[in-house]
């Protein structure tokens, strides 16, 4: 069984020869650049600076030699442009505050403010207001909120639709090239085409736009889901129309090179509760997810991937009904998200892609023995009958000890009864 077959078997709710492993396939299943560098050292791979392919969360690109060393079964296809709107090309060196030398795309243009914070610019244009900030000594960027004063009378849903447009030939060609390369590896392929998230709060401030208009403040957006629901529906409705037309073009171009589509990263869960009620989810979001997922299922062989952090147990029946095949990151530490409960209640109907180890406590702060125990326990629960892809709960965060990441990998190999 090769990696692709292994992934497809797991996604079909059948037990593959061993649990497939994803790291680096998406922007929510990745590894911080510093940890990728540490893993390269651990596996004694060629000394080279790691590429930051996702500059918002500073995720490191996992090169082929490291993929092989880690036994990764999934290959990612990403959009041509990053969260800050510049293309992922023409790499140049950059030094992080802790001294780590990395590679960043040419468009990664930054300045320092008086506090020593790093400011990054949309499309690499330093004449535009900065759209991201990394605190001095920090490891990640956060969006800078650029909210124009809101005039209720003049609010126009088109202002929140600037980033959704028909896919360009250049972007489409890029997807085709990268999907071909990904498929040629023999791994399963997960693609992030973009445009189908509907209200992903990380995208609302639009760090990729030079002068975002409409509702771009995070709190204002949350408030609008309650007070300006017609406006949000108008945005989602038009966004959906554009997304479906793009999916048609993308599918015609990449077809079955892709196995899974990362449809949506909108977070609905908090640590103990949720951002809205199930009723709101069903009224405001589900119709658009269903339209996208139904189109995908009617026209393609792709499986649909939903990411939502936090306590989302209450939404799972609606997610399944909306056509999602896969749930990520499966935050077992959040309220009501116990692994056994999720697997026994929903395991027949949805694949768990994640849930392998807790990245808030056990992986960064636990001992290697604690990491091993949790990974073995999670693999035992989630792998029964297939329907499980191993990944940590969200990206592996900066400053996670490499010994713990290795303990995590070794525990999966131990459970699988084989090393890469």
């Amino acid at each position: 069984m090769n990696s692709k077959e292994r992934l497809l078997e797991a996604l079909s709710h059948r037990e593959p020869d061993c649990i497939p492993i994803d790291f680096g396939g998406t922007s929510v299943t990745g590894i911080h650049v510093s940890c990728v560098a540490a893993l390269r050292d651990y596996f004694s791979l060629t000394k080279q600076p790691v590429k930051v392919h996702e500059p918002y969360q500073m995720l490191g690109w996992i090169d082929e030699d490291l993929k092989q060393a880690m036994g990764i079964d999934v290959e990612g296809v990403f959009p041509r442009k990053t969260m800050f709107g510049f293309p992922n090309e023409n790499w140049k060196p950059w030094r992080m505050d802790d001294g780590l030398e990395v590679l960043v795309p040419e468009g990664f243009r930054v300045t320092r403010d008086a506090n020593g914070d790093t400011l990054i610019y949309p499309e690499g244009d330093t004449t535009a207001p900065p759209s991201g900030r990394m605190p001095k000594g920090g490891y990640f960027f956060d969006a800078i909120i650029r909210q124009e004063p809101i005039d209720e009378e003049k609010l126009n849903p088109a202002d929140n639709l600037e980033e959704f447009e028909p896919i360009s030939t250049e972007d489409l060609d890029y997807l085709v090239t990268t999907a071909q390369a990904a498929a040629a590896t023999g791994r399963g392929v997960i693609a992030s085409f973009g445009g189908t998230a509907f209200g992903d709060i990380a995208l609302v401030p639009a760090p990729f736009l030079k002068h975002p208009k409409g509702i771009r403040d995070v709190s204002e957006w949350y408030i609008s889901t309650r007070t300006r629901r017609d406006y949000i529906h108008s945005v989602f409705s038009k966004q959906c129309e554009i997304a479906l037309a793009n999916l048609e073009k993308i599918h015609a171009a990449v077809g079955s090179l892709v196995d899974v589509v990362f449809v949506c990263g909108t977070d609905f869960g908090t640590q103990k509760s949720s951002f809205c009620s199930v009723e709101t989810f069903r009224e405001l979001y589900a119709p658009y997810y269903k339209a996208v997922n139904d189109w995908i299922h009617r026209h393609t062989s792709w499986k649909t991937f939903k990411h939502s952090c936090g306590s989302v147990e209450r939404f799972i029946p609606s997610l399944i009904e909306s056509g999602f095949d896969i749930l990520n990151p499966v935050q077992c530490s959040a309220a009501g998200m116990e692994a056994e409960h999720l697997k026994s209640t929903y395991g027949q109907d949805i694949v768990f892609w994640g849930g392998g180890v807790d990245t808030q406590r056990v992986l960064p702060f636990g001992t290697p023995a604690e990491v091993r125990d949790q990974v073995l326990a999670r693999c035992k629960v989630f792998s029964q009958g297939g329907g499980f892809v191993f990944n940590s709960i969200h990206n592996i965060q900066a400053r996670t000890p490499v010994e713990n990441i290795v303990a995590m990998l070794n525990a999966v190999y131990e459970f699988n009864g084989r090393k890469p």
Partner: protein, 211 residues
């Protein structure tokens, strides 16, 4: 004569326009500002908290109620100061050094204000010495620390240590909160309490202020 129950309803329903209008009317009619706070706004925010706890309310409703309450409080605060009214406590709050996430912290700050506390909000990415300085200058009795990232959680301990080094640790109670923070972690770093959400934070602040 102004119907003050409308102030309660406006805060509860997150109707900032009405909250401000009723407050203006009440002030014009010389209603005691303490009465507005204690009889209408605090109970309204308590009810908001209760609804959040039992999941009738979610983050958007909390934000709306906080906005309504703030609009009203901005009118009332100068009157309270003029009267020399004592707040339920003085809270210095901020997101710790290296962390820019402030939605949770802002909610806690608003709920504390709505609960009758004087809140000194230092913002996000706040250095330990700034917490110390503000706690000293404002004579705070509570310091609230927020963190969202695992990499910035250790800054909570650094801040608590800084309060100790400055000799004011025994004068202030420290509350911590944020997604990756747990009661166990709060205990390990020597905090006095862990607020798993904004409502619990207000309850804890009240308990600690009463001690």
């Amino acid at each position: 004569m102004v119907d003050l129950s409308k102030l309660y309803d406006a805060v509860l329903n997150g109707d900032a326009k009405t909250a401000v209008a009723v407050t203006k009317e009440a002030i014009a009619e010389n209603v005691d500002p303490m009465e507005l706070v204690n009889k209408y706004m605090v109970p309204a925010m308590d009810e908001v908290g209760r609804r959040f706890e039992c999941e009738e309310y979610f983050v958007p409703e909390l934000l709306l109620a906080a906005r309504a309450m703030k609009g009203s409080l901005e009118l009332i605060r100068p009157l309270l100061v003029a009267k020399g009214a004592e707040p339920a406590g003085r809270v210095v709050i901020g997101t710790v050094k290296g962390d820019l996430h402030d939605i949770g912290k802002n909610l806690v700050a608003s709920m504390l204000e709505g609960g009758g506390f004087e809140v000194i909000d230092l913002g996000s990415d706040v250095a330990p010495e700034k917490f110390v300085q503000a706690a000293q200058e404002k004579n705070a009795n509570i310091v609230c620390l927020s963190a969202l990232l695992t990499v910035t959680m250790p800054a909570m301990k650094t801040t608590i240590d800084a309060l100790a080094s400055a000799g004011i640790r025994d004068r202030v109670k420290v509350l911590v909160g944020g997604a990756p923070v747990t009661p166990q972690y709060a205990k390990e770093i020597g905090a006095d309490g862990y607020g798993e959400n904004a409502t619990v934070a207000v309850q804890l602040a009240r308990q600690l202020s009463a001690q």
